[in-house]
Subunit: 410 residues, 2 copies
C-alpha cells in the first residue's frame, strides 16, 4: 500500500484504524474479474453519521436511498461498489439499490434501512445485484479494523492511486484519531464522475455537531476543487463518529469543537487536493487564491472563472506564462465596478499584472521560470474592495485529458 499518497502533515505512515469500525472488501467482478470492487464498512452501535450528497437533479439511485435511510435511522453498514454507478436507469436502479441493502441486512441480521448504499462507475448499465450479493459473504468475512487501505483501492475507478489520510491529535489532552479515504473524479470524470469520501473519527458527538463539522469541512475542501464545476450523479461524502475514543463534544459551543473541526477540515482538504493531483491527464497542481473581495461569493466567482478556463488550463499545461489569459478571465468574472488599475495578479511571488496591464518589472524569463514548476499559486488581489478571500484548487488541461475523455468508452 505504498501507493497511498502522503505528505508531511498531518497523515501518518499508514491509515490508522478507528476504534469500533471494521472494513472488508471483496471481488464481485462487476467490471473487472481481478480486483476487489466491493467495500463494506461496519459501524458500532451508537455511532453518529452525517453525509453530504450531490446536488445534481439526476442523482443516482443509491444517493436517493442513502438519503432516505440516513434520515430514518443511524446506519450500521455502508456498502460501496465501484464499476457501476447505478445511475440513469430509472426505477430499476432504486429497486437494485434496495436489494443490495436487503442482502447486507440478511447477512448482518439488521434492518435494510440500517445500510447506506454507494455506487461509482459507468452510468446507464443495470447494477449486477446477483454478483454483489454473491460476493457479500466474502466482504463480511474480511471485516477488519485494518481494512481501510484495501477499501481505498476497492472504491477506485479511473483513479491511478488509492487516496487516504490519517491524523492523530491531542484535544484537551486526550487523543483523537481521524481517518479518511476518497476516490476521485480525476480532473473531471466522465460517466465515472464520482467523488466518494468516507471519513471516520473515534470521538463522541451528536449528529448536529457532526453536521456542523462536515458543512464547514466540505465547504473548504471538496467544494473548493474544480471537478469542472461539475457535481456528478453520485457524489457523496460521509463523516462518522464512533464515540469509542476519549473525547466527547456535546455541542458546537464546546471548547473542543473548533480544534476538532479544524482537524477534520485538514483531512478533507488533503483528500480533496489528492483528487486534483490525481486528475485526468493532470501535470500541474494550481492553487487559485483570490483576495480583497467584498464577499466570499465574489472571490469564488473570480477563482472559478480562472480555474475553469480552458485557455488558462492549456497555458499551464504548456508552461506558458500567458498572463493575458488570466487577466481576461478576471475581467470577465462579473465583478461589479472592478477597478482594473487596482488589480494585481501574481504567479507565486512574481507580479504579472498591475496598473491595468502587464507589470513593468515582469520579464518572460521570470514567467517561464515560475511556469515550469509543478505546483503554482495564482494569486489575485482585487484591489482593497474588502477583506474576503478564498482558495480553489485545480489542475491543467493536457492532451491526455482529451484522449482519456474521448476514448473513455472505447
Amino acid at each position: 500500500m505504498t501507493q497511498i499518497k502522503k505528505t508531511d502533515t498531518p497523515e501518518l505512515l499508514s491509515l490508522q484504524p478507528i476504534t469500533g469500525i471494521k472494513v472488508g472488501t471483496a471481488c464481485a467482478q462487476i467490471r473487472q474479474a481481478e480486483r476487489d470492487d466491493l467495500a463494506l464498512f461496519e459501524l458500532p452501535p451508537q455511532s453518529t453519521c452525517v453525509a453530504v450528497f450531490t446536488r445534481n437533479a439526476f442523482c443516482a439511485a443509491p444517493v436517493t436511498i442513502a438519503k432516505q435511510h440516513l434520515e430514518s435511522i443511524a446506519p450500521r453498514f455502508l456498502l460501496i461498489n465501484s464499476g457501476n454507478a447505478n445511475a440513469g436507469i430509472g426505477e430499476a436502479g432504486i429497486r437494485d439499490a434496495l436489494n443490495c441493502c436487503e442482502a447486507v441486512a440478511q447477512l448482518a441480521d439488521c434492518a435494510p434501512n440500517e445500510v447506506l448504499p454507494f455506487s461509482t462507475g459507468v452510468i446507464g448499465t443495470p447494477l449486477p445485484v446477483d454478483k454483489i450479493s454473491a460476493a457479500l459473504p466474502n466482504a463480511f468475512a474480511a471485516l477488519d479494523a485494518q481494512g481501510w487501505e484495501k477499501a481505498a483501492e476497492a472504491i477506485m475507478t479511473t483513479d491511478t492511486v488509492p487516496k487516504g489520510f490519517s491524523v492523530q491529535k491531542s484535544i484537551q489532552g486526550q487523543p483523537i484519531t481521524i481517518t479518511g479515504i476518497v476516490k476521485g473524479a480525476g480532473m473531471i470524470k466522465p460517466d465515472m464522475a464520482t467523488l466518494l469520501a468516507f471519513i471516520a473519527t473515534d470521538i463522541a458527538a451528536p449528529t448536529s455537531v457532526l453536521q456542523a463539522c462536515i458543512n464547514q469541512a466540505v465547504n473548504q475542501s471538496f467544494h473548493r476543487i474544480t471537478i469542472d464545476g461539475d457535481t456528478s450523479t453520485n457524489d457523496a461524502c460521509v463523516l462518522i463518529a464512533t464515540g469509542q475514543g476519549e473525547v466527547t463534544i456535546e455541542s458546537t459551543e464546546h471548547v473542543a469543537f473548533a480544534p476538532f473541526c479544524q482537524a477534520v477540515t485538514d483531512i478533507f482538504l488533503q483528500l480533496a487536493q489528492a483528487i486534483v493531483r490525481d486528475g485526468e491527464g493532470a501535470t500541474k497542481f494550481m492553487t487559485i487564491s483570490v483576495e480583497q473581495g467584498t464577499s466570499e461569493r465574489e472571490c469564488l466567482d473570480v477563482a472559478h472563472t480562472i480555474a475553469h478556463s480552458p485557455l488558462v488550463k492549456t497555458a499551464f499545461f504548456a508552461s506558458d506564462a500567458n498572463w493575458g489569459r488570466i487577466l481576461a478571465a478576471v475581467g470577465r468574472a462579473g465583478v461589479d465596478n472592478l477597478d482594473i488599475q487596482a488589480v494585481q495578479i501574481y504567479l507565486n511571488e512574481l507580479c504579472i499584472v498591475q496598473n491595468g496591464g502587464v507589470a513593468e518589472s515582469y520579464t518572460e524569463e521570470q514567467g517561464k521560470a515560475v511556469m515550469r514548476k509543478k505546483e503554482i499559486m495564482v494569486r489575485v488581489l482585487l484591489g482593497e474592495r474588502g477583506n474576503h478571500k478564498t482558495m480553489v484548487y485545480t489542475c491543467d488541461l493536457s492532451h491526455d485529458y482529451v484522449r482519456i475523455n474521448a476514448e473513455y468508452r472505447t
Copy 2:
C-alpha cells in the same frame, strides 16, 4: 475569394457593396510581412452607426476609445488592425489608439473622434503605431466599394477562412442590401480572443432604431455562440446604416422595422455560426436547443451548461453517444425543482433520455449513427415547465484544440 463561407440563404455569391461605403486594406507588417493587416472603412456623411462592445472589465484601449468617440459624434472612418490587440498595456495603449485615429484624421481631413479604432491580435505588446501610420496612405488609396472581401481577410488572426455574408431583400417593395464580415474567436481564442463584426446596410434609420436592431440581433446570434463563455478584451460588433438606399425606417413602430430587423438578425446569425464552424480544432457543429423552460434565462443556463462541458464536447469529438454526460449536465444546471421524470433529451430525432434515465427504445447503434454526423442538434425538453426556449451553438473539443492553445505562443 472563394474561401468566403456561403450557405444557401440568405447570402449571395459575393459580398455586395453598400452604397456610400468604401473599404480599403493595406499591409502594415504588424505581425507578418506578407499579408494585409489593416482595414479602413469610409462611411458617407449622415450615416448612423451603433456598436456593442465586450463587457470584459479589462477591455482593450481601442474599445475604450471607440466607445468615447461613438458617444461624441457620428463616425466617418473605422480603422481595424489585426496582429496586435493593443490590450493589457495600460495608459500607453490609450495613447497609441488615439494616435492611430489622429493619423487617419490628418489624411482624411476630419476630426480624430470621427474615427473608431479596432484591434485584434496578441495581448500585451505595444501597438506599432509608426507601421500603421506608414501603411495608412495605401489603405486610403485602396478605398473601394468592392473592398469588403479583402477586409474580411485583413481582419483575420487565427481564423482559417474569411467570413462574410450579404443579403438583398425587398421591404415594402423597395430593395435593401445588408453586408457583413466577421473575424472569429475560433472556439475560444487565446490572446487573439476577439470577435469583430462589421455589418452595413443602405437603409436610413436614426440611431435609436439601429440600436434596437443591433440589440435584438446580437442577442440571438453572437450572444448565442459559446466562445467558452468568454468575452474577450476586444470584442466589438458594429452596425452601420448609410441612408443611401430606398428605404427609411423612422422608428421601431414602423411597419418595416420587424422585417428589417429579422434580415439583420439572419445575417448576424450566419456570421456567428461561421465563427463556430471555424472554431479551433472544431470537427463538429452542435446546436443546443432547450425548450419548455419557465424563462429564457433558465433555458440558457441549461444550454450553456451542456455547451461548456468538456465532457460533452470530448464525447462529440469522439462520436461517442455518451448520453450520461448530457444528462448529468442538465441535472447540474441549477434548474429549480426539475422533475427529472419529465425531462426528455434528443440527439436530432433520436430520443436518448426519458423517464429519468436512458430511453427504453434507445440503442447504441442508433446513437452511433447520429454521432457520426458533422452537424448535430441536442434538444432538451424540460417537461412542460413553460413556453420559453433558446438555442446555443457550439463545437466539439478535440486534440487540436489543446494543441493549438498549448502551442499558441511557441
